[in-house]
Every structure is written in C-alpha cells, then in structure tokens.
C-alpha cells in the first residue's frame, strides 16, 4: 500500500510543473479567446470606428 502511495504521490517537481503549466496554459487560452473575439467583432465594425487601426 505504501509503495502504491509512493508511486501516486507527486514530487515537488511535479507540483512546480503543474503550477507553471497551469498558469501559462490558462493565460495562453485566454489570450487566444480574446484575440479571436477581437477578430470576429472587428469584421462587423466599420474601419472608422476602430480607432487603433
């Protein structure tokens, strides 16, 4: 039983990797969603109303 627990238990490196991958992954996904929303909406708005373009 203790051997099983030892195998299943995550090492410190595993927790560190989970935290960093989770953070980068979530922010990356949000970046993609935001850029896609921007592209979709931009096509529906005349160029003059997009002050930054």
């Amino acid at each position: 039983m203790s051997a099983v627990v030892h195998v299943v238990a995550m090492s410190d490196g595993g927790y560190v990797a989970a935290g960093w991958v989770g953070a980068v992954g979530l922010v990356g996904a949000y970046v993609l969603v935001t850029l896609r929303r921007g592209r979709r909406l931009s096509r529906r708005v005349p160029e003059g109303d997009r002050r930054w373009s």
């Binding site: 410190d12 935290g19 989770g22 953070a23 931009s42 997009r50 930054w52």
Partner: protein
C-alpha cells in the same frame, strides 16, 4: 478570361487591406516585450534561482503565485476605479475599461487560487482550507464573477453597467480585506513578503520574483488593451444593431401608414 471578379477573392483582398483585429503597433511592441520578459521569468524562476532552504523547489511556485495574486488585486482595483468613473461621467470608455479589468481579474484570480492550492498540497498537506486569506480571496473572485454576471442580467446596456458598477465599488475594499486578512485574523498563510519596505527574501530569489512581477505586469497590460478594444467593439456592434433595428421599425411604420392610403385606389 472573365471580367467578373471572384467575390470570395475580393472579400479576401479587402480583409488583407484592412486588418480586422484589436492589435496596433503599440500592442505589437508591448507583446514582444512581454514575450521577452516571460522567457526571462521562466529562466529565473525555474533555472537560475536557487531552491529555498525550507521549501526547496516548491518556492518556484511562488514566483508565479505572488505576481498573479498582485495582478488579481490590480484587476479588482482597476474595476472599482473605472466603475466609479463610469458612475460619475457615464463615458463608454470607462465602462469598457471596467469590464476589461474585471474579466482579467477573474482570470488572474483563478490563477491565484490554482497556484496557491497546488503550493498548499505539499506544504500544508491540503489543497484547500477555510483560512482567512484563502476564504477572502475566494470571496473576491466570486464578487468579480458576480460583477460580470450582473452586467448581463439587465437587458439595457447602460442599466447593466450601472448596476454592475455599484457592485464594482465593493471590489477594492475587499482587496484591502484580503491583503490584511493575515494580520487581522489567525492564518496559515504567510504574512507579506515583498509588499513591505524590508522584503523577507533576497538575492536571486528576490530577482526572480521581481522579474515575474514585471513580466506579469507586461502581459496584464497587453491583455488589458486587447480586452478593452474587444469591449469597445462590442459597444459599437450593439449600437449598429440598435440603429439597424430602429431603422427597420421606422420603415415598417411608414409602410403601414402608407398602406390604407393606397387601398381605396
């Protein structure tokens, strides 16, 4: 050869001429700076900084957790400020800034809770406990989600913004409660480390944390500009749709008033 141009080709050409996105030269420069800072953050956080004497390699989680927590506070504080300005000035720009900051606050709040829980498991032997800091952080996240939900409840755009702005005013006071919760109540969570005049860490570990804050700040600023522009576009689309609906209704009204006159003839 045909004189008639392919409509799909013309559409594609038009799209190529007028890029339809929320980017600009400024965001390109900011984005590149953010990417460079992110690379430096990863190197400092995972390679160059030494393990902590007590926490070992788990300290590397704090190089993510602390910056995202500060940006979570920033998102909530900015939402309160923009909400206050919206209530005073009724300018659509402040409304767009409020919703952009609130959404970023939710994302960084989720990251704060996620990275904190992952750090808590090997350190406290639990992912979650009803500690004052953890509970007040979760409450702040719920308030931010509530802010976004209230905006959608009221069908009139300005009505939803006004109701949400009143809720938005509660966010920054909650940030203060979250920050001082470790001093006001008994807490498992450690007290302030870097937001004090004499930081309790030093050397490469302090540099890793500072690089993390700078990189996170650049990513936050880049995202905030893009999300602000998305909110601005949403307002424009709503306005155009409303104008089109009013014009259609007027045309319908004109038709119905003209119809009886046409009947006797």
């Amino acid at each position: 050869m045909s004189d008639v141009s392919d409509p799909t080709e013309t559409e594609a050409e038009a799209e190529a001429e007028v890029p339809a996105h929320t980017g600009s030269r400024a965001t390109q420069v900011l984005g590149l700076a953010a990417l460079a800072a992110l690379a430096l953050w990863v190197l400092y956080g995972l390679v160059w900084s030494p393990p902590d004497r007590e926490m070992g390699d788990l300290v590397r989680l704090l190089y993510v957790h602390v910056p995202v927590a500060i940006l979570f506070y920033a998102g909530a504080g900015l939402t309160t400020f923009a909400s206050l300005m919206w209530l005073r000035r009724r300018s659509p720009g402040w409304d767009a800034l409020a919703v952009a900051a609130a959404e970023l606050g939710v994302v960084f709040g989720a990251l704060t809770l996620l990275t904190g829980s992952i750090w808590g498991k090997p350190t406290w032997n639990t992912f979650w406990t009803w500690d004052a800091r953890l509970t007040s952080t979760a409450l702040l996240e719920v308030l931010l989600i509530g802010y976004l939900a209230v905006r959608r409840v009221d069908p009139s755009p300005s009505g939803g913004s006004t109701r949400a702005s009143i809720l938005g005013l509660l966010l920054f006071p909650n940030v203060i409660i979250v920050h001082f919760s470790v001093d006001w109540w008994r807490s498992l969570h450690q007290k302030a480390t870097v937001t004090r005049l004499d930081p309790t860490i030093e050397g490469d570990m302090l540099v890793a944390l500072m690089v993390g804050m700078a990189a996170g700040g650049l990513v936050f600023a880049w995202l905030l500009i893009h999300r602000f522009r998305v909110a601005w576009l949403e307002q424009q689309v709503e306005r155009h749709d409303l104008d089109a609906a009013v014009a259609a209704r007027r045309a319908e009204g004109q038709l119905s008033t003209n119809e009886p006159e046409a009947q006797p003839a």
